[in-house]
């Protein structure tokens, strides 16, 4: 899945670049226009949401958002490539074993998840949004890894969620571009914006959160002594 996503996303960007270079008919907001006017008239008067930043990130700067997500995907791939061969063995003892700290972490996780979801789902009305909530979500997803032995299922789940949300966002962007004359379906469908904005923020939040969690997990699983002379992988279990 991760490989498929890392193939699909660059190819889609190349496709978009070819379209731009060939000057095929494209919606007008792809070219320079009065952004302030667009902000005040199109975004606010149509009641998309009170937070201009989130609305703009999802509407006329959607290309920018997609590029940021592609960069996140690139760094997760790079981390797997550079550090992946030097993992500790799967039976590694967790980093935190103290009872008090483990209990504290598991008390903290629901609060973190709650605030992350709040930031994501109300990001178009209050300060917040997909990226900010995604950061919190990443911490909430990473904390269990510190206290439990490495779980193959959990890592696979994170990878699947990461790739799936990336593919959904890309397909939504492309469908909106070619069929509805607007990035992320947002320009023509203002009556649906109250449900579309939280949904898009949610997908972006999942993408960012799982991306961060995968990155931190890779960094945690890295074994700096791997490959030294006289090194035994199984005996170095700390």
């Amino acid at each position: 899945m991760q490989r498929t996503a890392s193939l699909i996303i660059p190819f889609s960007f190349i496709l978009l670049l070819i379209i731009l270079i060939a000057e095929l008919p494209l919606p007008s907001y792809f070219f320079l226009f009065d952004i302030t006017e667009h902000n005040q008239q199109a975004l606010i008067s149509q009641n998309f949401g009170s937070n201009q930043l989130t609305v703009a990130l999802l509407s006329y700067r959607g290309m920018d958002t997609l590029t940021e997500l592609a960069i996140l995907l690139a760094i997760t791939t790079i981390s797997s490539l550079l550090l992946g061969g030097n993992r500790r063995s799967s039976q590694t003892r967790p980093l935190i074993t103290d009872r008090l700290q483990v209990t504290g972490i598991f008390l903290l996780i629901p609060v973190l998840l709650m605030s992350a979801l709040y930031l994501i789902l109300y990001g178009h009305r209050i300060p917040g949004g997909g990226f900010q909530g995604g950061g919190l979500l990443g911490i909430a997803l990473f904390l269990p890894i510190l206290t439990q032995p490495t779980s193959r299922l959990y890592s696979e789940l994170l990878l699947w969620l990461d790739s799936l949300s990336g593919i959904i966002l890309l397909s939504l962007a492309l469908i909106g571009l070619f069929l509805f004359n607007g990035f992320f379906l947002l320009t023509q469908t203002e009556q649906w914006s109250f449900i579309l904005l939280p949904c898009l923020s949610f997908i972006i939040g999942i993408k960012v959160g799982t991306g961060f969690a995968i990155l931190l997990q890779e960094l945690l699983a890295f074994d700096p002594d791997f490959g030294r002379i006289g090194y035994d992988r199984e005996s170095n279990q700390s």
Binding site: I35, T36, N39, Q40, I44, S45, S50, N51, Q52, L53, A56, L57, R61, D64, E68, I71, L72, A74, I75, I78, S79, L82, L83, N86, I126, P127, F131, L215, L219, F222, P224, F226, G227
Partner: protein, 128 residues
């Protein structure tokens, strides 16, 4: 006092933020040029990034045009472009820092040190 009035009266805040941003940029540049330890270079790079982001935020800070969320007025709302740019820059900078840390971990695994001079010596000896 409402947030808009507070922003309008407080010109000192802008100057302080500007000074702080330039201080951070100077610290970061100096650290990147002078430090020999690779982790210190990366930390200085982080300081430099923070300084640039604060400077951009100060540039977009206009007391007569407070943020839309603070005042609730659509008329005269601040252009969101610079804030969007900062939001993008924060994420890209985070990714760059992550990449640098990953490279450092590999360098330490391969050579066993964090010293810039030693690393450059190895590098030149390899490409010669």
């Amino acid at each position: 006092m409402s947030p808009a009035e507070l922003l309008a009266t407080d010109a000192l805040l802008k100057q302080l933020l500007c000074l702080g941003a330039f201080g951070l940029i100077l610290l970061g540049l100096g650290g990147m040029l002078l430090a020999q330890h690779l982790i210190r270079i990366i930390l200085s790079f982080g300081l430099l990034q923070a300084g640039i982001q604060i400077l951009l935020a100060v540039i977009s800070f206009r007391p007569e045009q407070a943020a839309f969320l603070l005042t609730g007025q659509v008329e005269g709302a601040l252009t969101t472009e610079i804030q969007l740019f900062i939001l993008t820059a924060i994420i890209i900078n985070l990714v760059i820092l992550m990449f640098a840390v990953i490279l450092l971990m590999r360098i330490h695994q391969l050579f066993g040190f964090f010293d810039k001079r030693k690393l450059m010596k190895r590098f030149y000896a390899t490409i010669r």
